[in-house]
Amino acid sequence: MTFSPADITAIWLTLKLATLVTLLLLLIATPLAWWLANTHSRLKVPVSALVALPLVLPPSVLGFYLLIAMGPQGPIGQLTQAMGLGTLPFTFTGLVIASIFYSLPFVVQPIQNALEALGKRPAEVAATLGAGPWDRFFSVILPLTRPGFMTATVLGFAHTIGEFGVVLMIGGNIPGETRVVSVQIYDHVEALQYGQAHSLALAMLALSFVLLLLTYGSRRAQVRVL
């Protein structure tokens, strides 16, 4: 199993993308999940539906709308141009933003489920013992919902690695910038380089399996400790 320099570049880019997206998603999804888990607002249902959309939408449809929005005439494109950043399609940044939308439900939902299952009581108890909001989150809520956050991290990471349709729409196929592993595999197959495609595909398969193995393994370990 050998990787060409182009394969290595694609793998590196994919890992970079997935890591960055996962970190940003944890920052975005945690307050969003907390709000969804606690709110009685009428906005809860529409917001939940919006967050879940990428689960059912063909990635090409999501990618298409993002392409339009980030394009020179789109609202995001106009904004980025006004800020002197140019337009985002066919850039790594554009890919990061698109991936955030694409993987959002995979990160929000496990965290939201964990928070809902935990309920308000532990945070209330912590408050009565003198813990402020941030203190409550890091000393009580996070440790008690760790399995949910683990699942969210792994799913967000793995799902970002696995994206293809959105990347093609928004990122195209620029080596070192937007050509991720899934696109590289597609290119190898198009060029009838089945051996190269096999190597990359097998690497992806192994990585995904190991990631899931670690998640389920850690969950079982946690149950045993308790």
């Binding site: 108890v125 408050a127 009565t128 440790p143 308790l226």
Partner: protein, 361 residues
Amino acid sequence: MSHSRNSHLHIDLTLTNEGFCLQVSEQIPLQGITAICGPSGAGKTTLLRCIAGLERAKGEISFGEQFWQQGKSFVPTHKRGIGYVFQEASLFSHLSVAANLHYALKRAQQKPSAADMNALVDLMAIRPLLQRHPDTLSGGERQRVALTRALLSNPRILLMDEPLSSLDEARKQEILPYLEKLRNLDIPVVYVTHASQEIARLADHVIAMENGKVVVSAALNDALMHPQFPLNAIQQPGVVLRGEVSEIDEQWQLSATTLCGSNERLWVRHEGHPLHSQVRIHVLAGDVSITLSPSTDSSIQNIICCTLHSITDDRQPAMAMLHLQVGEQWLLARTTRRAVEQLKLHAGMMVWAQIKSAALL
């Protein structure tokens, strides 16, 4: 006025929520144990949560001179310096017992000294549990740890929401003595309950609620004698007498309690309370009868001299309620109106109260 404000938790709240309306304007004394009682759905827990800042109603709350809630300003729970014991186990399951206690200690506004902490751990008898995990404790042990944890945050007031209701009878009896010890710690306690036994045994002041409103707010015995007191609809009125164990008769397994503020003694079944311990004795109005002279040929052991203070109507037209003064304490006797007439009972006269049955709490 300013004095009463200093020494009270002042509450003036209105909360309307899905057909339920809480409307309370009350002063809770900042000493001793105040029991909030009433049927489920009366709003007891909601009121307690509002005091803690876990729920927000319209209105005002002030603790002594400090406002906790006024207009738009609202002091959040973690800055109120309260302790709260929840109805069910609320220990953090990711921490050991010791770490649970440490959690409170670390965040206490005024940290208790190591000596205080050790004393409290021993008072609540949880030293053997320190290294255990909350999931391995019994319900009673968990509540004892939760109580200790709340006290370790050095609260200015301790709020307890039916801390015994999730426990079986044996466990309740196991915990009650620890709750009684709260009296010695000099922290004001607000205690939500619907159990009359807990009220009689623990409370100094009683607030009875119904449908989101306060129906009675009075010192314990005034509440127990109050016709509107909700528990008096299901059980007969009675009083709780305070006293000190002054003699133990090992042969007959009886102990004598000298009533506070008088020389009268009551003999009751010995329940293991040591000599000189402070105890409470529950006496129901129906268990007290009146004679004009002390009889010596009765099986009734407890006959005490008292002054008839007043005679009031009873719920039943055939009956009357006699309010008797024993030193500085009160006793209730329920007799027929005919007996009142035949014995020519009137306020101010000296009578003998025969107490058929009395129980140490």
